[in-house]
């Protein structure tokens, strides 16, 4: 089962290494990890997806809290949440029907963000399963390069995750 954990961490050198080291040392496999700034100064936000059972997710949460630079952890597995993934996909347009590709773009809300002589680069954003599905449709057309951000997620409703109480 997939667990999406959000960690608010101090924006200090080496923090990413400490988090990565923890998952490696405790023998948890990271499926995806994204890091970015938050609205609060000096606070970064990590979205970590792991494949684990509920007990293991609770253990990871406890271990994350042991890291001095970790301010707050939330497991989005237990609450309604919005999740997004973004992919950039470079597809070859040589040697097949350009119209087939444009049909996929049209039907899947993908965006054409760049065109070359032989290729077209698409941006796909959505729930991770949606991105998977679009990529599945593009594969037969010839993907020559791809990048995904990994999942970012946020709890639904008015509750906000904030490190303000740790200031």
């Amino acid at each position: 089962m997939h667990h999406t954990l959000i960690a608010l961490v101090e924006d200090k050198p080496g923090v990413l290494n400490r988090i990565a080291s923890l998952f490696r040392r405790r023998n948890f496999n990271i499926e995806s990890l994204t890091v970015g700034r938050t609205a609060e100064r000096g606070v970064s936000r990590m979205t970590i997806v792991i494949d684990s059972d509920q007990a293991s997710a609770e253990r990871v949460t406890a271990y994350l809290y042991k890291l001095v630079n970790v301010l707050q952890v939330e497991d989005l597995g237990s609450v309604p949440a919005v999740a997004r993934d973004l992919a950039l996909v470079k597809v070859t347009v040589a040697g097949h029907d350009r119209a087939a590709l444009l049909r996929v773009v049209d039907e899947t809300r993908a965006h054409i963000v760049d065109t070359g002589e032989q290729t077209m680069t698409l941006e796909i954003t959505g729930e991770p399963p949606h991105v998977d599905a679009v990529i599945g449709r593009l594969e037969p057309l010839g993907i020559i390069e791809m990048v995904r951000t990994g999942r970012v997620a946020m709890r639904r409703g008015d509750t906000a995750l904030s490190a303000a109480k740790y200031s």
Binding site: P13, G14, S21, Y63, Y65, V70, S167
Partner: protein, 573 residues
């Protein structure tokens, strides 16, 4: 504000933190700090290897209850500390390591003696720092001490670049308390958790308390004894917990686990309630977790929330300081009587008594258990004993009966051979009035034997008992039990330890008969300097009982009864 160099600030901070003794080894990247040291009232103990410095700092912390400090240079100086840091981490010992680092502008360029020690020690420190600016030195050291000793204690490393040590700023000590955004060690006892625990305690007819090192670290000895007496519950001890409850206390069953006495493990397996106080259900304590105490509810009290439900699922958990928790429990819990349960456990002791190696008559062979028990009797159980790792460590736990906290210092979690001699030196520095014994195997002694020179140079008086059986004994025992006596790489030929002692200007004795033990131990105790005794013990004796790794806790290999005990090894002398 006066001007201070980074090097001076390091010592200013250490002095303000109450540090009087540091253990270290100089080198290029830490030279500015060593130069400044001469102007500060701190005793520096020059070790022979940086691993020794970390073990000494660890022993110093465990014996004295304060923070131990170790200092080394960059590169190999720092990497030599790794074993000692990992040892302190596994046993939650408050140690601060200060290392020099190459100048900041050279970091990342593979400079001479550059190593990424903050990266290397991420998994084996509670936290660590790489300090590249002189103004960051004080905050890092203040936080390091705060982290090392608060909450669940542990080692913290502060790596300071040479240029930060050399630079100057206007500086004064900031006496304000440390505040850290992501670290809140103080945790009040949560009422609902406490009530849940109280309900389980009231229902129990066959309770057992599992007392770990947390009892000692939270200073809960008195409260624990009062609580156990109030609810009339037997207490089983972890290795690191020994001394947290006096061995002679009527409710103290002794050590549990792999080499615990049979009645202790049976009591745990048959209990209806386990109260785990400041212990972490290590695999050496539980055996097979699937069959562990199958009918018992579990109450787990620990300051570290990540220990709850890690190895054993808790029915009630309290994440808080143990002493505070016990005080709260004592406020509400009623007196109880479990005489039938205690009598039942007592009835199991008869069988063990028959098998007790102390019952073995003096056959001319010298048994390690006899030696250790004799040392216990001669020292009236009042010594601080520092052990290494292996058979002698388990015999010590079985046959030296500890009455007071911080009187047994041993590498439990990491199981670090070579720990005893340097940790004993550190322990003696922390408690100069205590009688300190290092009990160590012939293998482990040779791992850090060089620290004899440190003891000699510093004039530190410890007593070293080498339990010399000519084997890496515990590994040999496993080979005997589980590998068809194929003794791969366990026979050990050692130098003449008495001569080794003499080469250091220290006294050395050899003992190979039980009748010699009393006299030689007394001579060692009376001597002014460090004394080494080479006890030539029975070569192929084993530690009993033994729960094979991963087996059910009550599936113990028992010591054969004396009449059938096979006397092996050398001919009777």
């Amino acid at each position: 504000m006066p001007k201070r160099t980074g090097a001076q600030i390091i010592w200013e901070c250490l002095v303000h933190e109450g540090v009087q003794t540091v253990f270290g080894y100089p080198g290029g990247a830490i030279l500015p700090a060593y130069d400044a040291m001469l102007d500060y009232p701190v005793r520096h103990v020059l070790v022979r290897h940086e691993q020794g410095a970390t073990h000494m700092a660890d022993g110093y912390a465990r014996a004295g209850g304060g923070v131990g400090v170790a200092i080394a240079t960059s590169g190999p100086g720092a990497t030599n500390m790794v074993t000692g840091i990992a040892t302190a981490m596994m046993d939650s010992s408050p140690v601060v390591c200060i290392t020099g680092q190459v100048p900041s502008k050279l970091i990342g360029y593979d400079a001479f003696q550059e190593t990424d020690i903050s990266g290397i020690t991420v998994p084996i420190t509670k936290h660590n720092y790489l300090v590249m600016r002189v103004e960051d030195i004080m905050p890092a050291i203040k936080e390091a001490f705060f982290l090392a000793k608060s909450g669940r204690p542990g080692p913290v490393l502060v790596d300071i670049t040479k240029d930060a040590q050399a630079a100057s700023i206007d500086w004064e000590w900031d006496p304000s308390p440390v505040r850290m955004r992501g670290y809140r060690p103080e945790r009040p006892v949560a009422r609902p958790d406490l009530e849940k625990a109280v309900a389980l305690i009231r229902e129990s007819q066959r309770p057992v308390i599992l007392a770990g090192q947390g009892v000692i670290q939270s200073g809960a000895m008195r409260e624990l004894a009062a609580f156990a007496e109030r609810i009339d519950s037997p207490i089983a001890m972890t290795l690191l917990g020994l001394g947290g409850v006096p061995a002679s206390h009527r409710l103290n069953l002794g050590m549990m686990g792999m080499h615990g006495e049979a009645w202790v493990n049976h009591a745990i397996q048959e209990a209806d309630l386990l109260m785990a106080f400041g212990m972490r259900f290590d695999d050496r304590v539980t055996g097979n977790t699937k069959t562990y105490a199958p009918n018992a509810k579990k109450i787990h009290v620990d300051i570290d929330p990540s220990e709850i439900n890690k190895n054993i699922r808790a029915d009630a958990a309290i994440v808080a300081d143990l002493r505070e928790t016990l005080k709260d429990l004592l406020d509400v819990i009623e007196r109880a009587d479990h005489a039938p349960w205690i009598a039942y456990i007592d009835s199991m002791k008869g069988d063990a008594a028959v098998r007790d190696i102390q019952k073995l008559p003096d056959s001319g062979h010298l048994y390690a258990a006899h030696v250790i028990n004799d040392i216990w009797r001669i020292t009236e159980g009042k010594a601080v004993v520092v052990t290494d790792v292996g058979q002698h460590q388990m015999w010590e736990a079985q046959y030296y009966h500890h009455e007071t906290p911080r009187s047994l210092i041993t590498s439990g979690g990491l199981g670090t051979m070579g720990f005893a001699v340097p940790a004993a030196i550190g322990a003696k520095m922390a408690r100069p009035d205590a009688e300190v014994w290092a009990i160590v195997g012939d293998g482990g002694f040779q791992m850090t034997q060089a620290e004899l020179a440190t003891a000699a140079q510093e004039g530190v008086k410890i007593n070293i008992a080498i339990i010399n059986n000519g084997y890496l004994g515990m590994v040999r025992q496993w080979q005997e039990f589980f590998y068809e006596r194929r003794y791969a790489a366990t026979p050990l030929r050692s130098p003449d330890f008495v001569k080794i002692a003499e080469a250091h200007g220290l006294e050395g004795f050899r003992v190979d008969k039980r009748g010699q033990v009393l006299d030689v131990v007394q001579r060692a105790r009376r001597a002014e300097g460090t004394v080494l005794i080479d006890f030539r013990v029975e070569q192929e004796d084993s530690v009993y009982p033994m729960v094979p790794a991963g087996a059910d806790l009550d599936a113990m290999i028992r010591r054969p009864e004396p009449s059938v005990l096979a006397e092996t090894g050398a001919d009777p002398i």
